[in-house]
């Protein structure tokens, strides 16, 4: 039995269905992420859990108890807002003490609890400051400390790191993981940033158009995307679509327009003639100058059309004779050498039948 049970929740705004029949069970102590592009319904779903939105249909249960009719102030959950929503007229201490005062905590216990919460978010000594005297990262910590101080059953985080710069964001990600482990509170985290979701979560629900496209562990989401949307949204991916031409011994051959036949290992029992998609990560593709040697199952000769030097890796976009473009990635293991190939170089791209992932459509 899951701690937080979302059952067939639908939320409409006029004609627009923001959340469409979503069912998710979130376990106690889990770091759960709702991931999707803006407008996919993830924030609406989070606000529905918090009680700011009322579902048009469906139920939300916490420890088996239906939360319908309970306003946000009477739900044992806390939300961390994207804008932090710190009270500007209160100090850090005042902000963190606020939920305790609302919960009628005896005055004598408040200061100790505030101090403990500030220690949890590594803000000792900042208690007397006002929000406008803090940096973005510090404000974020105050917001999290304020939400955690009453030890809620669930912490809801709405894109909490979106406003921070890249380096700070990475630091805060590690801190969030550690904090969640430390306090053991269930986190429900909303983000549009797939790397953030992959790095932080125990499980991810990828949402699109109000629906959950896939609910799985990060490695499964990345390695075995169940739909074309998930494959495309999570990381970079080459997607080859076409009808199934042949199948033998668990290997399917897909006739991809502008490329040719592509072989892929799969246990899918899709009949011949039906459409399928192969999702292939750029890092799974070998790119070389075409020296003879082992020849994997799929190999094509093409020309480098574009390249993107990223520091640790270089991304090559290779044009095929049929017109398709394949993205491949090569680690720049040799320092000082920006790239192995130049635009216009003839190269060979190849991959094994087990390298990609077959998506039935």
């Amino acid at each position: 039995m899951a701690l937080l049970e979302i059952q067939n929740v639908t939320r409409r705004f006029g004609e627009f269905t923001a959340v469409d029949d979503v069912s998710i069970g979130i376990q106690a102590g889990e770091f759960f992420t709702l991931l999707g592009p803006s407008g996919c319904g993830k924030t609406t779903l989070l606000r529905t859990i918090a009680g700011f939105e009322t579902p048009d249909s469906g139920r939300i249960l916490l420890s088996g108890e239906d939360l319908a009719g309970r306003p946000p102030e009477r739900r044992p959950m806390r939300m961390v807002f994207q804008s932090y929503a710190l009270f500007p007229h209160m100090t850090v201490e005042g902000n963190v003490a606020f939920p305790l005062q609302m919960a009628k905590t005896p005055a004598g216990e408040i200061s100790a609890k505030v101090a403990a919460a500030l220690e949890d978010v590594r803000l000792q000594g900042f208690g007397k400051r006002y929000p406008h005297e803090l940096s973005g990262g510090q404000k974020q910590r105050v917001a999290i400390g304020r939400a955690l101080v009453t030890h809620p059953a669930v912490l809801l985080l709405d894109e909490p790191l979106a406003a921070l710069d890249a380096k700070l964001r990475e630091e805060m990600q590690i801190e969030l993981i550690n904090l969640q482990k430390e306090v053991g509170i269930t986190f429900v985290y909303v983000t549009h940033d797939q790397t953030e979701a992959l790095a932080l979560s125990h499980r991810i629900a990828v949402m699109n158009n109000g629906r959950v496209e896939q609910l799985d562990e990060p490695s499964k989401i990345y390695g075995f995307p169940r739909t074309r949307f998930v494959a495309d949204f999570i990381g970079h991916c080459n997607l080859f679509s076409g009808p199934v031409k042949a199948r033998e011994n668990g290997v399917v051959t897909l006739e991809v327009p502008a490329l040719g036949p592509v072989r892929i290992e799969t246990d899918s029992a899709l009949p011949i003639g039906s459409a399928g998609t192969i999702a292939l990560r750029p890092e799974k593709i070998r790119i070389d100058s075409g020296a003879p040697g082992q020849t994997p199952d799929n190999h094509w000769r093409g020309t480098v059309q574009e390249l993107l030097y990223m520091g640790d890796v270089t991304v090559y976009k290779v044009g095929m004779p049929g017109g398709a473009q394949i993205e491949a990635l090569l680690a720049n293991s040799q320092s000082g050498r920006a790239r192995f190939f130049e635009v216009g170089d003839p190269v060979e791209v190849s991959w094994a039948v087990g390298a990609g992932h077959f998506i039935a459509e």
């Binding site: 804008s83 929503a85 007229h89 201490e93 939400a147």
Partner: protein
């Protein structure tokens, strides 16, 4: 700066100087130089402190102004909050309605209240009808302190609504959601978040209502009874009827100083309050 000098400093100086001079035989001011010496004295000031009637009228004026300010605050706050929360389309319309009275003449609006509060108007009949039920004597609404206060509140209300609206409109709705999420009831959200954050608007509106209300003379003249003369009426009387300019100047100076002192006090309290809200709260807890 020049603007301040021309329109504020010079008139004030003229008034201060006048307050030390002797009233002229037929009103106005006696010549400044008489028989080769400066004629400056404290007679008018002495009179203010000796004749307690003026101090009493002065205190009464302050009380009227305070009551007016408080009533305006109570009436304006819900209205300003409503306007700030309504959609853009209705917001402009509502604001227009708030400032609409300014399109008609100030005195006409006061005379309108004369009709509304008049003894044969529906309001007076209704009130006295109810009072008769309880066996009470009929009361006149017009020419009373009640009429003065109602009209003071009426003419001052937009000056409270507008600064409050300007403040409330800037509030981040996420703060109220956060407070609610953190367990605050509707009343706690208002009292702990909205109201403290709106204090600058409250002070601005309070000053805009209190200071003019303190010096007003037209409303008590028209709607008040003989007992409802305020300091503004007395000043007007001194200048226009008694023609005792020095004493009128003294009263004006006392009024200006009092208004500045009260405004300064309010600002000081406000700053003290804002600087240490959490310590003040902890002291209360």
């Amino acid at each position: 700066m020049l603007y301040l000098v021309v329109f504020f400093a010079i008139p004030s100086l003229i008034m201060v100087l006048a307050s030390f001079r002797t009233p002229g035989e037929f009103g106005g001011l006696a010549p400044l130089y008489e028989e080769g010496r400066l004629d400056l004295n404290l007679d008018s000031y002495a009179r203010f402190f000796e004749e307690t009637i003026y101090a009493r009228i002065f205190v009464k004026s302050v009380v009227y102004a305070l009551v007016t300010t408080f009533c305006c605050l109570l009436l304006a706050y819900p209205l300003a909050a409503l306007i700030a929360r309504s959609s853009k389309r209705y917001r402009d319309l509502l604001l227009l309605l708030v400032i609409l009275p300014f399109w008609s003449n100030f005195l006409i609006r006061i005379y309108a209240w004369m009709i509304i509060l008049g003894p044969n108007a529906a309001l007076a009949r209704a009130v006295n009808g109810v009072l008769a039920w309880f066996g009470h004597e009929p009361v006149p609404l017009l020419f009373s302190a009640f009429a003065v206060l109602v009209c003071l509140v009426y003419v001052s209300l937009p000056f409270m609504v507008l600064p409050l609206y300007a403040n409330l409109e800037k509030h981040d709705p996420a703060l109220l959601e956060a407070a609610q999420d953190l367990g605050a009831s509707a009343w706690q959200r208002f009292w702990r978040i909205t109201f403290p954050l709106s204090l600058p608007g409250v002070y601005a509106g309070g000053a805009l209502v209190f200071i003019p209300a303190l010096g007003i003379f037209a409303i008590p003249d028209i709607l008040g009874g003989p007992e409802d003369s305020l300091i503004g009426n007395v000043i007007k009387q001194q200048f226009l009827e008694t023609r005792d300019w020095p004493f009128g100047s003294v009263l004006s100076i006392v009024l200006t100083v009092a208004a500045l002192a009260i405004a300064g006090l309010a600002a000081w309290v406000a700053r003290g309050n804002l600087a240490t809200p959490s310590s003040a709260r902890q002291a209360r807890a």
